[in-house]
């Protein structure tokens, strides 16, 4: 097993996280990942810190002292066409050169053009989950572009036939995001990634003409949808720490813990759970989802033992099944305050 763990971006956080990794002998931690600077471009998720290239270099060197790799996330789903302008191309060339000089080990991107651009560099090219690789065909396509590793679309996390097929046809390392808290087949997914791509590009040329939005509609609707139908929390394609072995059995050994916009203590809690392959408590506490949900619902992780056997064979015809709705009644409780 290799764990890819989130880093919020400030150097003190990295020091604290890696000290815990060392002191507690969490030997499966293989890589930390963090957002790139918003001066260049946005990101698929909230970016809370603007690390300069010099800081990325310093932090990368620090991670290497612990024998941990550094992965910089550059995964906006929308670049507004800027990457296809001469100015955009030149800026990206400069940026990738700088990351390479900073001895960054891997770069995660969502845009196919950036995958091709990165072929010139020795850094590992990781395809983001924002690219929504959900079939063998798409995996082969990204491999042909030059990808070394693929983070698959979380919507197929529990679709073992597709995961097996991707593993069969692709030479890339396959990563799954284990603590996915997004709604399964979320109707807002693409629009929300696009919104994030622009609002997180606070100081890049992409920010020109950026609208001053009145609210994050998708975030609010996402919570509201689950409050009205809590079975959506159970249907989300998370993977319990206890169930990682099901993926190892089909040859998937790279597990990414999402959550780079969370606090240091939250990250350490999630890392400990997945590194030890067990968690006793409210599963929502280690999922990368709106924090409000953990104050409303309690999902007994231990009570979910065995569910993966059913989900592995699930045909995703929820209207004909009802299993997740039944499980919800057994494992999910409203927290009374």
């Amino acid at each position: 097993m290799r764990l890819m763990i989130p880093h919020p971006g400030h150097f003190d956080a990295l020091k604290e996280i890696l000290r815990v990794v060392e002191n507690e002998n969490l030997k499966d931690v293989h890589e930390v990942f963090m957002s790139g600077p918003p001066e260049i471009m946005g990101s698929g998720r909230a970016a809370l810190h603007a690390a300069l290239i010099s800081e990325i270099k310093e932090q990368t060197a620090f991670a290497h002292q612990y024998d941990i790799r550094m992965n910089i996330i550059v995964n906006p789903s929308c670049l507004g066409g800027y990457h296809l302008t001469y100015a955009g191309y030149n800026m990206l060339r400069w940026y990738f050169n700088e990351l390479n000089r900073a001895e960054v080990d891997a770069v995660t991107v969502a845009e196919p053009y950036l995958v091709e651009m990165l072929r010139e560099y020795p850094m590992e090219i990781v395809v983001s989950c924002v690219s929504h690789v959900d079939s063998p065909q798409k995996a082969v396509f990204y491999e042909m572009l030059g990808a070394d590793a693929i983070t698959v679309d979380t919507n197929i996390n529990r679709d073992f036939d597709v995961l097996r097929a991707i593993k069969r046809v692709s030479h890339c390392r396959i990563r799954v995001i284990v603590n996915e808290g997004c709604i399964y087949k979320c109707p807002f997914r693409y629009a929300h990634f696009n919104l994030f791509s622009h609002v997180t590009a606070s100081r890049s040329p992409l920010a020109e003409g950026r609208p001053d939005i009145f609210s994050d509609y998708y975030f609010d609707r996402c919570i509201s949808l689950r409050v009205r139908d809590p079975s959506q929390i159970i249907k989300s394609p998370w993977i319990r720490p206890e169930d990682l072995n099901h993926y190892e059995e089909i040859g998937i050994e790279d597990f990414k813990i999402a959550g780079r916009a969370n606090t240091v203590a939250w990250i350490l809690n999630a890392v400990r759970a997945y590194a030890s392959r067990e968690y006793d408590g409210n599963l929502i506490e280690i999922l990368d989802c709106p924090a409000e949900l953990k104050y409303i619902f309690y999902v007994d992780n231990n009570a979910l033992e065995g569910c993966m056997e059913k989900w592995k064979k699930c045909n995703k015809m929820c209207n004909e099944c009802g299993y997740c709705a039944d499980i919800t009644k057994k494992v999910l409780k409203l927290i009374e305050k």
């Binding site: 919020p8 971006g9 400030h10 003190d12 956080a13 020091k15 604290e16 600077p37 918003p38 909230a46 970016a47 809370l48 810190h49 603007a50 997180t200 606070s202 100081r203 916009a261 969370n262 606090t263 240091v264 203590a265 939250w266 350490l268 409000e292 953990k294 104050y295 409303i296 927290i335 305050k337």
Partner: protein, 123 residues
Amino acid sequence: MEKEDINAGRRRVENELRSLVGSIFVPEAKLFAMRCGCYGFYADIRGLRADDVEAFSEKIKEVMRRIGEDMGLRADFIYARKLPGSEEVVALTARELCDSCRRELASSKSSPRPDIIVLKKRR
């Protein structure tokens, strides 16, 4: 506790920051309760930079602590929040933490998140 007390708190933050830094506005202030069990006083800030907070951290902390105290809060976590990826400070909060948020926000040695400048924390 009356509604005017919240506005008095808002005015006090604004006046104190103006005396320390210069042209600062506090367009909105709130007294809040969260479902998790936290309580707090929150002020939106316009015009403040991270450098200012670092230079006057003791004074700002004391202002927020006293305002919280006047509203019945035992503020064990006082912080400034920056606009992510910038040095612009957009909010000051004095918060009485619940056990869960104490673990999440006040247990780490470093700042819990890069957009948060911690002025006071009680573990």
